[in-house]
């Protein structure tokens, strides 16, 4: 396992002074964040503070307009890439609210997606048998019913199934940077462990994870290198694992007060 800051000279994602608006409302108001290879960053913050806006903007959601700032991914301008190009370059978003795709089966969908990624990486299509085996294996690891892959994507999935299915996709598509938006919300205790195991398995020196969460509970299993607090469109404080515990004990008001009195701390 990598230790804190071990790869700080290998930045994967650099977010500089990012401003994002939806419609005429500015939601991210100058956000800075650097994620190096091998690191796990947790982002915490109150409802509506802009966490999903950050992950969606990074994934390229069309209605999220970047009005200022820049984002580099492996030194390349991420913002000028289409969402599918970002995915092919190794970015993955586990959605807070996964979308239903009626009539599109999990297995065929993932196969199509994997083919697109492999083609981009200059690899030929793997065999269907290997793919099915991989899918079955990963689904099993995540405690998902094997029939699930024959169903329409997210349609009629329980809340927990939806979240685990996001992680299944991550495991199969094997991205480089995983943005996990509240993947732990709505999971029972056992499912949380299963998902955490999958995330830990994914965690490697040549990968990075940005984990959005409300609960420090998942951080017991997936130990973050950094914890950031996002309030009102900015990261107002960053620290280590302990910051999450402190937040849990004191709530966000404490940080808000600290920020308002000018004692902003940044890393």
């Amino acid at each position: 396992m990598t230790s804190r800051g071990a790869n700080h000279n290998r930045p994967l994602l650099e977010v500089r002074d990012l401003h994002v608006s939806v419609g005429s409302v500015e939601i991210l108001k100058g956000l800075n964040l650097t994620v190096n290879l091998g690191e796990v960053h947790a982002v915490m913050g109150p409802n509506g503070s802009g966490k999903s806006t950050l992950t969606n903007a990074l994934a390229g959601k069309p209605e999220y307009a970047v009005t200022e700032g820049k984002v580099l991914y492996r030194g390349k301008n991420l913002l000028e890439m289409l969402p599918e190009e970002r995915a092919r370059e190794g970015l993955f978003l586990a959605f807070q609210y996964p979308v239903e795709l009626p009539g599109i089966r999990v297995r065929e969908f993932l196969r199509t997606a994997l083919d697109a990624l492999r083609e981009h990486r200059g690899l030929d299509k793997g065999s269907l048998r290997e793919f099915n085996k991989l899918l079955q294996e990963k689904a099993k690891e995540l405690g998902l019913d094997e029939e699930l892959v024959k169903r329409s994507v997210n349609e009629g999935f329980s809340g927990g199934e939806k979240k685990r299915h996001e992680i299944l996709q991550m495991a199969v598509l094997d991205p480089e940077l995983a943005l996990l938006d509240e993947t732990d919300s709505g999971l029972d205790i056992d499912a949380l462990k299963v998902v955490a195991d999958a995330v830990n398995k994914f965690r490697k020196p040549d990968k990075a994870i940005l984990l959005v969460t409300h609960y420090q509970r998942i951080l017991n299993y997936v130990t973050p290198d950094f914890v950031h607090v996002l309030i009102d469109g900015r990261i107002v404080r960053s620290g280590g694992r302990d910051l999450a515990l402190e937040l849990e004990a004191k709530g966000y008001e404490w940080i808000r007060d600290a920020v308002e009195s000018g004692r902003e701390i940044s890393v």
Binding site: E84, R86, E100, L101, A113, A116, H120, Q169
Partner: protein, 444 residues
Amino acid sequence: MTQAPTKHDRYLADFEGFERDVAARGPEWLHELRQRALARFTEVGFPTARRGNERWKYTNINPIAEGTFSYPFAAGEVDGERLHTSIPWSDDWSRLVFVNGLHSAALSSVGVGADARSLAEALRADGQPAREHLGRYVTIEDDAFAALNTAFVHDGALVHVPKNGSLDRPLHLVYVTAAGAGPTVSYPRTLVVAESHSRLTLIETYAGFGEGRYFTDAVTEIVLGEGAQVQHYRVLMEEPDAFHVGITRVHLERDSTFTSTLFARGCAIGRNDLLATLDAPGSSCFLRGLYLTSGSQHVDNYVNIDHTQPHTTSRLYYKGILGGKSHAVFGGTVFVRPGAVKADARQEDKNLLLSDEAEVDSKPSLEIYADDVLCGHGATAGTVADDALFYMRTRGLDLNTAMVHLIKGFASEVLDKVEVEPLRLSLDRLTTASLPELQPGLVS
């Protein structure tokens, strides 16, 4: 309301020649039926007046009424190889092929054990069950199109499955219009009698070969005896400029089950009536449909399910994919007659609009005159969901691929239920091939 006489002249002239040259031989009762049908047609005329006419409210059939379509006295020709590659096909199916309304023995092939014949042949012999059933379900009172078809009733398919019998493989009825000199009209007629406890899988395909405008006026009558099970598919792949009006009536006896899937590729005007009478307890029908319209096409589906008896069940699930400036209509009525307690009916029509200019009028309705029933209906029309497109793109699918998957996913909810595998694959391909027309710029 009086019709301009010229609108009928062509049909009257055709009829004279038809009776003299084509239908000269044949039983007296049939001759009489035709005469009555023609009289009925000239009396009521085409339903061009839409005001107050619920059945034709959203479909303007003037282009048909004003067209000059003539009876193709010369039999057309169709290349067997081409037929094979253009429409759903399996060498395992029995088939009866009709070109311009007339049976083509050369293109047909019926397996042993199947009583599926050319109607003209059967009528010459005055055989049962044609005499007993022909015109009994789709009557000349139904409407002008039914009357006109009956006036020209001659050839088509007669399918008879005896008591406890079953056809070991699907039966494909193929009605083809071949390019000829000038616009033609054909009058396909299908009569299916499935006696008690029999089973049948039936596919009707209507297709055009060669350019041009033509008019297909089709009538299908299907009777299910007690406990009979009929799986029915209707594939419309008329030429884009063609007109198709088809009326199907299904009569169900006790504990019989009728399952039907319509696949309709759009044409200039396409109208499909499907009228089912659940006429005995325990009878049920499951109706699905998929219609695809593009350009300035117009497709109108009119479904009428009549629950006359207690403990009858009906399900309807239709879906439409509309592009361009096309227009689709769905009119579905479920009647639950007095005393038809425990009737269970649901109908749903869902539409996917791929263009701002496409339009749908979806009017499912319920008319319930009995207590203790379970009925529901719904209609939706929506565009491709941006959220879904984004979700797919974050997995590496480009916009085109994401769009193709979403549209095909929408269609698959109907197509996946097609139990005849070669047919399902074929309809899948037809849908895929239609995508660039439905959404210009899309590569399928």
